[in-house]
């Protein structure tokens, strides 16, 4: 490389000395203008083909991939934000549900106490009613029994007295009593 540079410096110094020297130098380097122009055109064609059929689609593809990656990252951020919001919402709902559950448990306890108290009172009233009815029934049975005993005793006394009177009253006594009874009715 350094050799080539030395040759070029030497050629430049030579140009100043002689104008015809450039064409000689180029000739000396082997430059063939038609071939050179053909090479340039060839290069441009190949470059254009490369640009339109390789570089440009590849660039578009890269841009598309980059956009997709950016969309994915943005979507990930949004999802993360939504996840955070959902977590917060879940915590709030859990907290609210816990409070409501505690309220429900407290109310259930209070209602249970009230129902228990009411049922206890009703049971006491029913027991009192049963006792009262039992007492009344016992009193009624006692009265009925007492009445029956009195009736039987009265029947027994009357029957016994009647039998004794029928047996012991003499005929003349019956007549005397009948006379007295007739007179008694007459005097009334």
């Amino acid at each position: 490389m350094s050799g080539l540079f030395t040759h070029l410096l030497a050629a430049a110094e030579t140009v100043g000395a002689d104008g015809n020297a450039i064409s000689q130098m180029l000739h000396r380097f082997g430059v063939d203008w038609p071939f050179f122009i053909a090479q340039v055109i060839n290069f441009l064609i190949v470059g254009s083909l490369l640009y339109f059929f390789a570089v440009k689609p590849l660039s578009a593809k890269l841009q598309e991939r980059r956009d997709k990656i950016e969309d994915g990252l943005r979507y990930t951020d949004e999802m993360k934000q939504k996840l955070d919001d959902a977590q917060k919402r879940r915590d709030e709902i859990l907290k609210e549900a816990t409070i409501q559950a505690q309220d429900v448990v407290r109310q259930a306890g209070e209602q249970g106490k009230a129902v228990l108290s009411q049922q206890s009172q009703q049971a006491a009233e029913q027991a009192e009613d049963i006792l009262k009815k039992a007492r009344e029934q016992a009193d009624q049975q006692y009265e009925a029994m007492l009445k029956q005993v009195r009736q039987e005793a009265a029947d027994l006394v009357v029957q016994t007295t009647a039998q004794l009177l029928k047996r012991d009253l003499a005929s003349d006594e019956r007549g005397r009593i009948a006379d007295e009874a007739a007179k008694s009715i007459s005097r009334k």
Partner: protein, 133 residues
């Protein structure tokens, strides 16, 4: 058929024809009434008329009878005294119907119409029974 007011009035007239001068039911007069009815029956309601007449006769007999029940021998004087007192009370002559009733145990029971005069041991014992109950 139900006794109409006209049938009742006819039955009352027949009853009046069946009484004697003292106002007591006369069996002869009652028989005559029935014979006349048999000979001249009404066009309608003979059966009802006879039933009504019998009811009035029974009611009148009950009012003019003194049904006297007694247990033991009842002296004739005591019976007459009782009958006289009842006639004075009702201000009419009463026909005595005397029967013995051992269920009275001792004493007398007299009945005129719906009125009952009971002076017997049976009634006394019944009163005793009620007071004991």
């Amino acid at each position: 058929m139900v006794a109409t007011p006209a049938i009742k009035a006819t039955a009352r007239r027949l009853l009046a024809l069946s009484l004697d001068e003292q106002g007591a039911v006369s069996a002869e007069r009652a028989l005559e009434v029935i014979k006349v009815l048999e000979a001249n029956p009404p066009k309608r309601g003979l059966r009802v008329l006879l039933k009504t007449y019998a009811t009035y006769l029974e009611s009148h007999l009950t009012k003019t009878q003194a049904r006297i029940e007694h247990a033991g021998n009842l002296d004739a004087a005591a019976l007459q005294e009782l009958l006289t007192s009842l006639e004075q009370r009702y201000n009419r002559k009463l026909e005595p119907v005397v029967t013995e009733n051992p269920a009275l145990i001792a004493g007398v029971r007299a009945r005129v119409g719906d009125d009952v005069f009971d002076n017997s041991f049976a009634s006394t014992l019944q009163t005793l029974r009620q007071s004991l109950q």
